[in-house]
């Protein structure tokens, strides 16, 4: 699904340049659930941004579902993002003046799906993340965990091939973190490929594979026994 060969990325700030990714080789097959770990500043987000076509790579090769991703113009990149990728952010990044279902429907809007169908599908996805009663609520009326679930529903809405999550539980307490991870596991169970950037060991172990970044290279890449989230007894 994802194939990266000898990926390099530097940031230039004035005369300084910062070599962030120094030759990453890495591939992800369909249906994997991969955790990307590493200390702060090790380049996790940078890697994820490049995978998400939000940033350009300097050197190396990137194949997404067999398509070479290089020097795409903005419009094309937007199309690929819309078709292939779903994003989940640490800070949710919901649009605050849109209701839950309108947020979820946004990727469909950019696909040109008509309003009625959009609403139907958005509600279906919100129900699948357990937010059926909240479809008309604004983000400000939702808890952090609920917001992240709206974001997950939004990432699912366009039925992407790959979901990219940058510290999806970073802003949540452990109970809601587990709820979110439970959801991510279930989505993965249905066959979706998911990459999760995280700091936390226990979150990483809820995935099926852990990749360790350090100083811009992969220092460890291991398959782990997935810890299933134990549902909290309410």
């Amino acid at each position: 699904m994802i194939e990266i060969k000898d990926l390099h990325k530097s940031y230039h700030m004035g005369s300084n340049s910062l070599h962030v990714l120094k030759g990453i080789n890495f591939s992800v097959k369909e249906g994997e659930l991969v955790a990307i770990m590493g200390s702060s500043g090790s380049g996790k987000s940078t890697l994820l941004n490049i995978l998400g076509m939000l940033d350009n790579l300097d050197e190396g090769e990137y194949l997404l579902d067999g398509v070479t991703i290089k020097n795409l113009n903005e419009t094309k990149a937007a199309n690929y993002r819309n078709k292939f990728l779903g994003f989940i952010f640490q800070s949710f990044n919901l649009i605050n003046y849109k209701s839950a279902w309108e947020n979820v429907a946004l990727p469909l809007y950019y696909q040109g799906v008509n309003r009625k169908l959009r609403k139907e599908r958005a509600i279906k996805h919100l129900e699948s993340v357990g937010l059926g009663p909240w479809v008309d609520h604004l983000p400000s009326e939702l808890s952090g965990g609920q917001k992240q679930r709206v974001a997950i529903a939004r990432a699912l809405a366009a039925e992407p091939k790959v979901m990219l999550a940058d510290e999806p539980t970073g802003a949540l307490d452990s109970k809601t973190s587990h709820e979110v991870m439970d959801l991510i596991q279930k989505i993965n169970d249905e066959g979706k490929t998911i990459l999760v950037v995280t700091h936390e060991d226990d979150i990483a172990h809820m995935c099926k594979r852990i990749v360790h970044l350090k100083d811009g290279v992969i220092v460890e890449d291991k398959v782990v026994d997935q810890v299933r989230v134990t549902p909290y007894v309410q």
């Binding site: 987000s45 994820l48 941004n49 998400g52 939000l54 940033d55 903005e74 419009t75 937007a78 199309n79 993002r81 819309n82 078709k83 994003f87 952010f89 640490q90 800070s91 990044n93 649009i95 003046y97 849109k98 946004l106 990727p107 809007y109 950019y110 696909q111 309003r115 939004r154 366009a158 940058d166 510290e167 970073g170």
Partner: protein, 409 residues
């Protein structure tokens, strides 16, 4: 492009920024308000000027004789020129097709009596054509006709002022009026848009007046109108041609400036038109300048909004918004705000104009109004202004990199 979704996006954005939308809109509304008022004022001046000219047909030429200033053809300088009926017939025959109406004017001052009332007025001997050239409005009865001319009838059409002064409550039409001891029959009463002084005149067949005053064939003036299709240059050219022909006929040096006077309304009218056109241009210029301030204001605020919405735009892009989607959003919002507020400004200005227009009717400023051209122009200007104002912010928005959305704040 104008889907319901796009509109709801725009409304969302406006609703969540009410104050700023109001402030932005106000600057545009103000600009258009001033622009429309200025244009209406120019229109008012134009009306004022035109009205003053409306006294007579705007395609008219008045020819007066003077005295020669140069010796020519055996005559010494200082000879008084006198027109007669043959001169008029000459013009009529020489310029058929170019002429529309033509009339002589032969004027006398008369003492008029009706009952005990008496007054001094001017009487003009004219042809029926005179009515059209002078734009005389017959209020009651009729004007001079061909039959009156043929039979040199002693009939008069009197101005409203004379009717009021001499006849008081009596209906003048059908009454006899004594003019310099001769009795005339009043056949009509006229009014004149131009001025009240005009209404102190009376008209009688030129043939009658010539017969009664020494059986002469002399006339004082010739008034005519030319083909109304003539443009300014053609009108001037036509009047030059008459001048040349008349000078040849009356043996006047072609260079003599004093022997004949031509009063061509086209010339004066064109001067006024040029003047008011210039005023229009100036006021459009001023209006535009004010509007530019509005545009810059909107642009400025939109740039600020874009900055505020950077994250949102980044998220939209991450979700698949193409640069054009973003440009569309910003531009349409800008055009929408400018159009609506401009429309409001325009309506206010039109309301103000509608309120004051009937009150104001001074000689140089009369019934200002807003014409369709102004409205259409203003609308186009507004849409263009909206696009211009939104353009830079829209480009800025389109260039937002989606990574910014991924960065934790």
């Amino acid at each position: 492009m104008f889907s319901r979704d796009l509109w709801s996006e725009i409304f969302h954005s406006i609703k969540s920024n009410k104050l700023r939308t109001f402030l932005t809109g106000f600057s545009v509304a103000w600009g258009i308000f001033i622009l429309v008022l200025l244009l209406a004022s120019v229109d008012g001046m134009k009306n004022g000027f035109t009205k003053q000219f409306n006294d007579d047909a705007t395609n008219s030429i008045f020819i007066y004789p003077g005295s020669t200033t140069k010796p020519y053809g055996g005559f010494e300088a200082g000879r008084r020129i006198q027109f007669d009926n043959e001169d008029l017939d000459f013009i009529k025959q020489s310029f058929t097709g170019y002429l529309e109406y033509i009339t002589p004017r032969f004027s006398k001052s008369v003492t008029a009596n009706f009952g005990k009332e008496t007054g001094t007025y001017s009487i003009r001997g004219v042809n029926p054509d005179h009515q059209i050239i002078e734009r005389t409005v017959v209020e009651k009865g009729r004007y001079i006709n061909e039959n009156d001319i043929q039979n040199t009838l002693k009939v008069v059409v009197i101005g409203k002022v004379i009717a009021d002064e001499l006849f008081k409550d009596v209906d003048p039409v059908g009454q006899n009026i004594i003019l310099n001891k001769l009795s005339y029959k009043v056949i009509g009463i006229f009014s004149d848009d131009g001025n009240e002084r005009e209404e102190r005149n009376m008209y009688t067949p030129v043939s009658t007046l010539q017969r009664l005053y020494g059986n002469t064939r002399n006339i004082d003036q010739i008034a005519l109108t030319y083909n109304p299709e003539f443009n300014f240059a053609e009108a001037i050219n036509f009047s030059d041609n008459i001048e040349v022909a008349l000078k040849r006929r009356l043996i006047i040096d072609p260079e003599d400036q004093g022997a004949l006077y031509f009063n061509n309304y086209a010339e004066q009218f064109s001067n006024v038109s040029n003047f008011t056109t210039m005023l229009s241009v100036i006021s459009i210029g001023i209006g535009m300048l004010i509007l530019i301030a509005g545009i810059v204001g909107i642009g400025n605020i939109l740039v600020f909004i874009i900055k505020e919405r950077t994250k949102e735009i980044g998220v939209r892009k991450a979700l698949g918004a193409k640069p054009f989607d973003v440009i569309k959003l910003v531009l349409l919002e800008s055009v929408f705000i400018t159009s609506i507020s401009g429309l409001i400004g325009m309506l206010f200005a039109m309301a103000v104009v509608a309120l004051i227009s009937p009150i104001i009717d001074a000689p140089a400023f009369s019934n200002p109004s807003v014409d369709n051209v102004t409205i259409i122009t203003a609308t186009i200007v507004l849409v263009v202004a909206g696009v211009l104002a939104g353009l830079i912010p829209a480009m800025k928005a389109a260039s937002v990199k989606p990574i910014v959305a991924l960065r934790a704040d």
